[in-house]
Symmetry: C2
Subunit: 121 residues, 2 copies
């Protein structure tokens, strides 16, 4: 944990907080100012700004200040990164399960790779 956080790290951590997910969902219906985001939330404005900074560091929202109002926009493509991470792993596991299935369906006499822990009943 003394390591600097990676990309997927910041993403998952940012999405791990319910307040931030709520912000993300609200931002899904269009860009909004900081106060517009903060108003429905049960906390102070600086707290919301801190959440927004976490989301921005994760790349999930981009902000732009014009005049005295900062407008926040959702960066939806960033979710592709998360989805990619998930489906990559899922595919790997499914391949493994497929191979396991083949072995179970047609067990050649000595192709057990590893003494898998099997309960001896």
């Amino acid at each position: 944990m003394l390591n600097q956080p990676t990309d997927i790290d910041r993403l998952l951590h940012a999405l791990g907080d319910p307040t931030r997910r709520r912000i993300v969902e609200q931002l899904g219906s269009g860009p909004a100012s900081v106060t517009a985001i903060a108003t429905p939330l049960p906390m102070s404005l600086p707290a919301v700004v801190q959440h927004l900074q976490v989301l921005e560091r994760a790349g999930l929202v981009s902000t732009r200040k014009v005049g005295r109002v900062r407008t926040c926009r959702l960066e939806a493509e960033r979710l592709d990164t998360v989805e990619a991470w998930i489906s990559a792993r899922r595919q790997a596991w499914e391949r493994r399960l497929d191979r396991l299935g083949e072995v179970l369906a047609d067990p050649p006499p000595d192709s057990r790779p590893e003494p898998q822990p099997e309960e001896p009943s």
Copy 2:
């Protein structure tokens, strides 16, 4: 945050930690005992057990103790929950962008729903 954590909450929080993701990835190549999981990790065994508890509360791994060895198994379907959450939101946003695209392509004289902040210039 004084709220009790929801399902997706526990999932995203569990996956938000690099050590836990590493455990998940290692478990992707088959079930393993606690010490087998702990050995490659640069921390004490109790620390690993605590990570495993977080993963178990999230439903991402299930464990089973037979004799003195506890075997941990990955619950891959749990990632479907995360993927579902993501793609549900993404679809909603894409629908919105589609509608926005339609409006921009063929603007009927009075169907602007909201004064959306659009950068001047």
